[in-house]
Symmetry: C2
Subunit: 444 residues, 2 copies
């Protein structure tokens, strides 16, 4: 019997997902519909066929949304997060499986009972981070628990970075993911638990309260805390773990330099800069400096404010961005964050031949059944092939694609609203990811 | 003809307003209705009579709200800011004057045309700050402009403080105004203009980018920038002024010490502390310290984080609050800001015999018609009588009361949505305020 898969949204990072689905259409007896606001962009990368339809899609068009969803057996939503909920509601209405890489929201969590009644799976956080991190962590957690171990500490870091061979800038960073999220990262207070003490880090300290993470053969990284680690104690069945932290990796030195933007106030997205289109980057930086520093050279003033040496590494990264240049962004009614994003998109651009790199590391401390304390470090390094088949696109797209296949093959038979922390899901997905070159190295 | 005045909300700082209106009821032929959620509290301070009615009031009860408003000639709203708009809409519907001390909101500004058509005045920002600051500033600005002067710089600071004779704590501060607003003060980015350069101060620097303000005979104060000074260029007819700053005054040294709370993250109101009711203040402070400082004594760790001497003035203010004590707030599901407010309300309490103090200072630099640069400093110091007839209640309540009287006497004949920056309003109000002991001292 033919099964219809509907992919909503085919933007950045969708290429590997779509390729996997297309490659399996014939063997699996699938028809694939790719619905995107800009179908012509999708068509330049993927040919239409009797099995693959590419269609224009407006998420706010209720009739079209319902029609496409009602014709599908399974919906994968890569839409912006705020558009998932109406899709999820339609999936309930028409009894269709719903998969996404986005964070589970309270409103989707409330659909659990209805999803169970309709016999459908609504799987959230099934990309890279969140996604592969949950699956790989849960595999280790269950393994340790089954061996009678007690987990004392679990820290998990993930970063979407540029591969060393394509790194030609002092930050060791290029955008392989939504640039806006990178600019706004860390806003709000980070929450985790450390040695049974709840820990809270205000935004002003997120990029200085960092840890150093070593990944054998790949390098040394800064790890900063993600917004809310505490909620995952429940998902990971680690309700009483003394230490749990989820964080983000950046190349060593990135955070100290990024903190200059934070200290200045240039990551603020809450207000519009007066006459933003008329001002140069340097003038905007000047606007964020205390009036008391107005007689200093701009570079000196920034270094003084941030208590950094003018000639040091952090300041040189900062200067490299061009933020002290007498050049205009030209953006009207722009917030500081919009100006900064505009500048960095030109500097941290993944060029056609560039390879990105995804790095993940889980650090466990546990007590084995004999009462001996042990460490376990599990690391993943994935490199992209090019600007389109990125490591990010692989690691975000393949888990979704594999779950879609397993669901339609009825090899996964779970209903309700879930994260991929269930053995029946993560085990076959991690197994197939290995065959795609996405495998962890474990040091015990 | 009898005129009906409706006062909505009679909480903190309403006593002087209500007393003024009651004192004038007979002579002016007014009937006064005081409508409050807790009318019994109002009745303990003010007797009802054939001229004064005190009634229970629920702002969300549409029928009651419309009934009271339709029976009034003039409405003074002291309700929480978010409740003004429906009241304003009813005032339009029934053609009633509307007065408030709260900030003008965009949605109320949009009622201007309708207010003009209905022939009513909707006057906003007519308390102390905003209020008396606007009126007194505008009087000077118009005077200087009329004398052919060009204003080069205008900075205006206001503080609600404790009077020196009632000051028995190292902060020189007790709550004479909404405590929550004091805890959350400065959040968001402060915006002003300095030497024709737009200036933005992120929250993390609001309490360190401060100025020192001297008020002759009263003392030295810290002045920190208020949220948005730029909007007032238009209201003050100072569109092209090179420097304009509105700020808040605190006793000298307050800001440096307050910044410790900010740095720690204890003023955050955006998330709930886990198990907040079980934790002591000291444990909560520990939660906001970097894990790297976990082996230090708590006091040392805070001082180290803030780069302050342990024995210094700022740290001693901080310690005085009791925030490092092993005592529980007992508050469930509390944000850091709620915990801090709870603690400080017990420490910064205006006791029955205590006097508060309002301090305001306008600092002008201008060029006179002969091209000579001049300074003008205008200062106001008002002390309260006791815990109820506070300087805050006088300076917030009297401008509203006086405008109400002048309107009902038809001595003010302005219609539309306004701030009290119009001569026809501020001139008689400032004149009468002098007779109440609220007068500025000018040094030229």
């Amino acid at each position: 019997m033919i099964k219809n898969i509907l992919v909503l949204g085919a933007g950045r990072s969708s290429a590997v997902l779509i390729k996997y689905l297309i490659d399996n259409c014939e063997a699996c007896n699938w028809h694939l519909t790719i619905a995107d606001a800009a179908p012509e962009n999708v068509r330049t990368n993927f040919p239409e066929s009797n099995l693959v339809r590419i269609t224009a899609f407006d998420a706010s068009d209720v009739l079209q949304r319902e029609k496409e969803i009602s014709n599908a057996n399974l919906v994968i939503s890569l839409l912006p997060p705020q558009l998932h909920f109406p899709v999820a509601v339609d999936c309930i209405k028409y009894s269709k499986h719903f998969l996404t890489a986005s964070y589970l929201t309270p409103e989707i969590a409330e659909l659990d009972q209805q999803a169970r009644q309709k016999g459908i799976l609504m799987l959230n956080e099934c990309g890279l981070d969140p996604g592969i991190d949950h699956m790989s962590a849960m595999e280790i957690i269950n393994r340790l628990h089954n061996a009678g171990c007690t987990i004392l500490s679990f820290k998990s870091y993930t970063g979407g970075l540029v591969a060393p061979e394509s790194n030609d800038n002092p930050w060791g960073y290029k955008f392989s993911w939504n640039p806006r999220n990178v600019i706004l990262a860390g806003q709000g207070t980070a929450r985790y638990i450390n040695g049974s003490v709840y820990k809270y880090i205000p935004y002003s300290r997120v990029f200085t309260d960092i840890e150093t993470i070593n990944v054998d053969g790949t390098g040394t990284f800064d790890g900063y805390a993600n917004r809310d680690s505490l909620a995952y104690r429940h998902h990971y069945k680690l309700e009483n773990v003394p230490t749990l932290l989820r964080g983000t990796l950046r190349h060593s030195g990135f955070c100290r330099a990024w903190d200059i933007f934070v200290k200045l106030g240039l990551t603020d997205d809450s207000f519009v800069i007066e006459k933003s289109e008329e001002l140069t980057y340097a003038q905007i930086v000047r606007s964020f400096l205390p009036s008391s520093l107005k007689h200093r050279e701009l570079i000196d003033a920034v270094a003084y404010l941030c208590d950094l040496p003018v000639e040091g590494e952090a300041m040189s990264k900062f200067i490299w961005t061009g933020i002290l240049e007498e050049e205009k962004s030209g953006l009207k009614n722009a917030t500081p964050a919009m100006i900064l994003q505009h500048l960095l998109m030109s500097k941290w651009k993944l060029e056609p031949g560039d390879k990105d790199m995804v790095v993940m590391q889980h650090l466990f401390m546990y007590m084995n059944k004999d009462g001996v304390e042990k460490n376990l470090v599990s690391s993943l390094v994935v490199k992209g092939e090019n600007q389109q088949y990125t490591a990010m696109a692989k690691t975000v797209g393949l888990p979704l694609a594999i779950v879609a296949k397993l669901l339609l093959q009825e090899k996964i038979n779970i209903v309700g609203v879930h994260l991929p922390v269930i053995k029946e899901i993560y085990e076959p997905v991690l197994e197939e990811l290995k065959t795609e070159g996405i495998s962890f190295t474990e040091i015990n």
